[in-house]
Assembly symmetry: C2
Homo-oligomer: 678 residues x 2
């Protein structure tokens, strides 16, 4: 057993040791700053953190009680299982993710309410822990399947992984002298007994315990957990799990992680596993393993990622499609896969630093702003589980008081039968400060551009305190103003990411040229002996941008997406004349998008409204009944020009049922084939 | 109980009463001709019938024995159920579909082997029938779920529907004095007792028993079966089944069939239900009900049908997507849904006749030639379950001796865990003669153009015997020569369908203009007092045709498909230089396709081969890593012109693992967005 009487290496967050951060490698190019060092102070993400604190956390706890998933622990204590068990096999994990979210919230704000909720829920969870450390409400009791008897689908280790992550959050914010930490350590010791050398040589069907165990090793100093995570990572891919309908790639048991060329299978499983693999590689100094994940990430980003940053195209198995299979229709792009992608890219950034850091942070930014931010409603009480890029039918209004299936209305739902996303959003938003900035020996790196106050020091004590203010220009973040708060005894480097989308950005610096200097996407560095009051200003382009896709993404040929700042925009039917279906819109290539009153306006024309036209009367001989005419056939003429507003994708569906699309066909593209053979 | 001592209205096929046909309405615009009246004599479908007889039927029986699905009936008799039961809940139905296929085969050829197999298998099935008429190996015994306790997923009525269809085939080919007919009648009587007025007011989760019961009513003259089918049709849509993960639209229990605007949900269920609804509407004279299906069909064809005729876009629930969601990628287009679509369109044709008949027959032809024909390998021993229009990865070689999952290699598999398609193909191919021609009071209508001998008479005895010969021109069916075999005592009308794809067709007729007259797509009629030796010749265009899709089918914008005759063509990597991936091909719009040595050749250029290029080295900063560049960014230059062969889609995947696509992007379409904003 791991003893906690010997103080572990972690210290409470109040010590300013950057402990309060979701990922804290013991080594690596960049050192993340914690919630005690970075405070999000303004802008969209500050508002989202506020909504998360005020609304989402209580909303989640309400539903966990209401659905009985919290009550499962009480039922275990009272011997009422399996009879009274509610929810799916992984419902325990939602309780643990709430614990993690509350722990970060307490660490972020010191809020006594959050701390009290952690303690109250922990008490109910702890009461259900078995004498040998096992914890779980789904297996092992009379009338239940035996423990570990359903590794493919049972999610037992997955749930324990989230328990451990919650404990890590607690350890990094209040220290390890904590009931939740003790519960998790006992559970981790037990699972190491079961799955360690000489034990069950298998893995969990859903990766998650891998990164969790490495993090627990980091906060406790106990290498046994790291070794167990390493075993799990190395075992997978050797067909240690039974085959399933979707194939072993579903849970990445098809190919060893060192040999896989790309992420595949279930997108949440794939990104969690890759994140845990980076953790193992970093802590064991295994560069080959780290390079394997880097290659997989690069190919996945280049070939299997939506323009929003969303990952996972398929509904059937919530999985990545083959390369370039990225249909906007029914894009799955699960919120949790977006979070997994953020976890992965951030770890690669910390491990690698250097020129690549900006590319990793670009994806973190894109995914946070367009997937993670899109999930919760602005009031924090409704969620998207999937994040399609094309909503063809408005769908029905989800009920207020019933958990729904995971797809696919244009309106967010308060809860789901499988409700991983709300709790995952909650823990991510609460800990967002941990993804903003890092330090190395030479200075401070700002990765996400949001209003923040950073108070940190380099290893030699040099203070690198800055205040970051982001000003809107024409309704979008346009000026990132970094003000140094403390005199430094020596020169240090302030690195500011210039986003990949920010061609034409300008950097102003003390004693620099008037009007600043152009900076290319990547990392802009200002090195000097900063004085309090020094300002570095990054001016970002604010014009809307049209982007196209790799020609191999068949599903969006002839269409463009419009972006502005870090946000992908979309068209909703509520912004079209008469609420016309978005599929009737064609972008006019002769008119550049413009900004009016802070909103992006594009010009286009509408296809004729033939709703029910081709089915009218049921005459099967009616013109247009067969939708594949000769290539030379002229398409229906477009209507008069209309100007329409595009809005950030993250906020779509907030104005009632609507059709929506991100990719806008260009007028003329429908007729591209008409010229053929002429 | 229905008594069979009173002779029913059906007569054995030898009587030349058009009894040997899969669908035989008691009323309607057109009277189908049976297998005794139409013999398929030449061309592709004659070869396919031959392969079906020589290879597929025995192959299917072999696998039914091997997998134990036939043995389930023996196990039932011997009291070894549920312990020894093998296969899924619907495995009985595969045995019944084999019985139907063998019955049609016997009816088509008089082959004693087929008759003997029917009798042998029937004996094993009959032995398992319960005293009250119930038949099924999955429910009702100690240790099994009670009968009818799982209507949503149990397939009990679905299986009985296929039993009844087999019996109908038997009744129409050897008469009703037959063991299989007696078994089916007892089962049908029992299910009418259970589900009739005052009984269980529900339906089966998978429609099939509806058309079966109407057909049984037709062959027995017993209206109780018709009434039961009517009840099933009318009940569905009123939420009589429990909701399921995919929603009630999955089994069409979301909206009453009279009110639904379009086919939706599981595509096989939807087409079978619609077919049964037409049967009910025709036999009960319910024009409103018939019109409802006509409207649904028209909208489904216009908005939810692939260019191959395939129906059902989604893997997850084997379901139709929303309107215009027709991605070639992972197009499901289940073989059985194609068969369901043929069943439906044929019934609408029989009911309606007139100008619409050609449109219905167009879809029958397209679906037979490009979906049903694509499923079996040319040797008849391997099958596609799904019929994708875009294969991005060659996939693995299916094992010779193991049933596989239902998707999605580029190679056909010998059997599936869910193996509905092979038996469905077998019964359809064996009975294909029944879909070729019809009569009305005034003459003969030829709907499918394949080599055939028709020997039939009009109600007044006028003989309308013809021999149809189809000659290839440049490797594709180009001349349909109809030779009259008998002098007629009066004028009659010979109607020949001019396919929708056949713009420019020419009809030659006795005493007509030299070189013939142009005929528009639809129906060409020649009316005269035909003499033996008279010829009517339809000359069809044989040039390859480029077609585009409705602009709302986003997934194929900027691409064209190539058709020739009734066949959709495709590009396979084995026909590209070096076996290049088909996704690299761009069709050159300046070069018209041509025909060389009977093969279609198109000119195009290849995108550069950057396989692994953008992932090489794992450098996330490498150019092209993010696949969404600015719209003005130039795409990679195309290579030198290459001429490549396109081949019929139905035969793809016969030459080893390959990538394949039906829709070919046009060179330049990738850059359609580049002009925007310039």
């Amino acid at each position: 057993m791991t003893s906690l009487t010997a103080p572990p290496s972690a210290a409470p967050a109040t010590g300013g040791t950057s402990a309060g951060t979701p990922v804290l490698p013991s080594t690596g190019a960049l050192r993340p700053l914690g919630l005690d060092e970075v405070r999000v102070t303004g802008g969209r993400w500050a508002r989202r953190q506020d909504v998360n604190a005020r609304a989402t956390l209580a909303h989640v706890e309400h539903w966990l009680e209401r659905e009985g998933w919290l009550g499962n622990f009480d039922a275990a204590v009272e011997g009422r299982l399996p009879h009274d068990r509610r929810g799916r096999e992984f419902s325990d994990s939602e309780v643990y993710k709430l614990l993690e979210a509350l722990s970060w919230e307490h660490g972020r704000t010191g809020d006594a309410w959050a701390d009290a909720r952690v303690r109250a829920i922990t008490a109910r969870v702890a009461a259900a822990q078995e004498p040998d450390g096992y914890l779980g409400t789904m297996f092992g009791r009379p009338g239940q399947a035996p423990r570990w008897s359903a590794l493919e689908w049972g999610h037992e280790l997955y749930c324990l992984g989230h328990l451990v992550q919650a404990a890590v959050a607690r350890a990094r914010t209040v220290g390890t002298d904590d009931d939740l930490v003790r519960v998790a350590v006992r559970a981790a010791d037990h699972l190491c007994d079961v799955f360690g050398p000489g034990g069950v040589e298998s893995v969990c069907g859903h990766a998650e315990v891998e990164p969790a165990l490495v993090e627990l090793s980091r906060v406790t100093g106990e290498r046994r957990y790291l070794e167990q995570a390493r075993l799990f990572v190395e075992r997978r891919g050797h067909h240690v799990l039974a085959d399933v309908e979707y194939g072993r790639s579903y849970f990445q048991d098809d190919v060893p992680v060192r040999e896989a060329p790309v992420l595949r299978g279930h997108a949440v499983r794939a990104t969690y596993l890759a994140a845990g693999t980076v953790d193992v590689a970093v802590e064991t100094g295994d560069d080959g393993l780290l390079d394997a994940v880097r290659r997989q990430w690069a190919r996945t980003v280049a070939r299997r990622t939506y323009v929003t940053g969303g990952m996972g195209a398929r509904h059937q198995d919530e999985a990545f499609g083959e390369d370039f299979v990225l249909p906007p229709d029914r894009a799955y792009a699960e919120t949790c896969a977006g979070i997994g992608s953020v976890m992965l890219a951030w770890r690669l950034l910390l491990a690698g630093g250097g020129a690549g850091a900006a590319r990793y942070a670009d994806l973190v930014e894109r995914t946070l702003d367009n997937v993670v931010a899109a999930s919760p409603s602005h009031d924090g009480r409704r969620f998207f589980y999937t994040n399609t890029l094309h909503q063809r039918e408005p769908g029905s209004v989800p009920p207020e008081d019933v958990a729904v299936g995971r797809a696919a209305s244009s309106l967010r739902a308060p809860w789901f039968g499988v409700s991983c996303c709300p709790t995952n959003v909650a823990r991510t938003v609460a800990s967002l400060g941990g993804y903003v900035a890092t330090t190395d020996d030479d200075g401070l790196q700002l990765h996400l551009h949001l209003g923040a106050e950073v108070r940190a020091a380099l290893p030699d004590g040099t203070p690198v305190d800055v205040d970051v203010d982001v000003e809107e220009v024409d309704g979008v973040d346009g000026v990132v103003r970094v003000r140094v708060l403390a005199d430094a005894p020596r020169a240090w480097s302030l690195s500011v990411r210039v986003p990949g989308w920010a061609a034409g950005a300008v950097l102003e610096e003390p004693d620099g040229p008037a009007g600043g200097r152009p900076v290319d996407p990547g990392t802009a560095v200002v090195r000097r002996a900063f004085r309090a009051g020094d300002e570095v200003v990054l001016r970002l382009p604010t014009a809307p941008r049209l982007v196209r896709a790799d020609p191999r993404v068949d599903a969006v040929r002839g269409a463009v997406a419009v972006e502005r700042g870090s946000e992908v925009l979309c068209l909703e039917s509520v912004d079209l004349p008469g609420g016309a279906h978005v599929d009737r819109f064609r972008l006019d290539p002769s008119a550049a998008p413009r900004v009016e009153d802070g909103l992006v306006v594009v010009r286009g024309r509408l296809l004729p409204d033939d709703e029910d036209g081709d089915a009218a009367g049921g005459d099967p001989g009616a013109a247009g009944a067969w939708p594949y005419p000769g290539a030379g056939t002229e398409a229906a003429p477009l209507g008069e020009p209309v100007d329409v507003v595009l809005r950030p994708y993250e906020g779509w569906g907030e104005r009632g049922p609507a059709t929506m699309r991100v990719w806008l066909p260009v007028a003329g593209a429908d007729d591209a084939s008409a010229a053929v053979g002429d």
